[in-house]
Symmetry: C2
Subunit: 372 residues, 2 copies
Amino acid sequence: MTSEAAALGRAGALLTIDLDAVAGNWRRLSARAAPAECGAVLKADGYGLGAAPVGRALFAAGARSFFVAHLEEGIALRAVLPEPRIVVLNGLLPGLAADYAAHDLIPALNDLAEIAAWAGHARALGTALPGFVHLDTGMNRLGLAPEDQERLAADPSVLDGVGPIAWMTHLACAEEAGNPMSREQLDRFRKAIAILPKAPVSIANSSGLFLGPDFRGDLARPGAALYGINPTPGRPNPMAQVVRLQARILQTRRVDTPMTVGYGAAHRVEGPARLATIAVGYADGLPRAASGRGAVRIAGFTAPITGRISMDLITVDVTHIPEALAAPSALAEVIGPELPPDRVAESAGTIGYEILTSLGRRYARRYLGGTE
Amino acid sequence: MTSEAAALGRAGALLTIDLDAVAGNWRRLSARAAPAECGAVLKADGYGLGAAPVGRALFAAGARSFFVAHLEEGIALRAVLPEPRIVVLNGLLPGLAADYAAHDLIPALNDLAEIAAWAGHARALGTALPGFVHLDTGMNRLGLAPEDQERLAADPSVLDGVGPIAWMTHLACAEEAGNPMSREQLDRFRKAIAILPKAPVSIANSSGLFLGPDFRGDLARPGAALYGINPTPGRPNPMAQVVRLQARILQTRRVDTPMTVGYGAAHRVEGPARLATIAVGYADGLPRAASGRGAVRIAGFTAPITGRISMDLITVDVTHIPEALAAPSALAEVIGPELPPDRVAESAGTIGYEILTSLGRRYARRYLGGTE
């Protein structure tokens, strides 16, 4: 029995996550960020790969600043990592300041009301509480709007009790190296902080680290690139692949006369052909939008997805693959070195991020390397 | 504090699942299936709603036959429901017959090799083991191909040890009432079982129950309709809605001059406008494909999604909603009575099934009714 078969056990598919590759990616990004500090974004359960094991591996590699989206994610990560800085990007939820403070979490402060609430909580505790003040420079999603930035500059005393602080902003178009928006956002950010109290700044996400030294700031916040997503779309991917998803072939069949395959009889096989049915479907995160467009790899061969992706199953064309290699119990690679998340995403009309965060719960999961 | 705010707690969104509605839907389908038995499909964690609570509610309502996709799903459901029949649709995994038998699970037997393995295990145990023999009639996905059906008919002794048995097949186009494929599949199925040992049959999925009495068989297997998906697309939905997903407004902002919103600066707001940022994103199962097309409901008003859906956030246009109703901490309905899964799916170019099975893990979950 191969180690893969053993790891698969009774599951239909095996998800292998290479923590050494994540750590290697972080080191690469960290070298690029230097002399700035390089943090790591672990929101959405570490982009679907497990915030706890990924967090431990990155802490061991040297990361000391982590970012999550939700308060609950911060609390869960704090239980795993007692030491590092953990910032909650979605901000300070009304009435819950005590929960952030109790778990030593730093809220991104996204508007003046959040600043007032956090500062008020600090004063009530009689201590200073750290905060990341998010200045919006063009995402129009979270963060202080320009008029609120001016109000804050006019009366920075509303921050009394919040400290140390950091100023952060978020880039809207960092993946597009030539897009003037990034430079415009940087200019707005510099203008804003010029009239605000001096403090460290955090600007770059993964792609921002590839826009040049101006975007480094003092603390970078890469996420996607840690997990193997290409931070420089259209150019070679400088990151190592992290994820491999392999699913069982359950059954194969010959089609000798023209026939339709799957739901809606949407795909016609003219035959003679051989089809394999594989234990992965859209409930496992393989988007239904990849129906008839995506492919899997079997023993080094490409097998196109035929017909519609079902909830628990796909059917692929294995006509051109030697029969012994595409037999029941063989494993098909659905995501992996030959089919990186970015490629799978392309066949589904989306981005690699969504492929990762949609990874299902029915897989056997195996972590390689790291501290697991 | 409303009960919703209490249930939401520290989460960004609240998923409410109405188990009484699921049970009511099952009773409605059961009446339609009568005099046949009506089972229930609980695969993919009960279509994302929780196989354990849904299973308990349906058992209490009278369901006695349950269907899952994976062996592991069967084992987990058996731990919750000791009594009813549980069928594993993805079939008998090689070398694992003892696991099915030990947990009193019935494999769908999808080819002659699976029949031989299950029959062999039964003979080794010196007992009979029940099996659902799946005859493919046109899905070309799982089940005995026509030539294997003939071989089985020529020598039914390969089934010795398997009993009681049932014959099952799966419809490819049941949602399309006028599609001749369903009748063709029924004809093939009848021809196949005419030369096989007499046993109960299972044909209809949710939509199959709406194709007329010929499709009832002896045991229906509805799934999607239990969870509120319309089994009769294009006609009024006869099922009750089961799911409500409400997410927090985190922040609102005015846009007075023309500006872009979100990633890629893909959406332009001419202003004056008001935007709200809401704590739900594609990592929570709201497909990125609904960017710029979907909407949420706030206090009875429709708020269109502006720009790209992010991993953890969406931005919506609340210009036409009274300011006090679309303020931070108010809840936006993302899925619910006014935005059923089928409608959300439409805005993302997919089907309600995928909306349900993609529901994320970061929600506070609340079950209404049932036995919870």
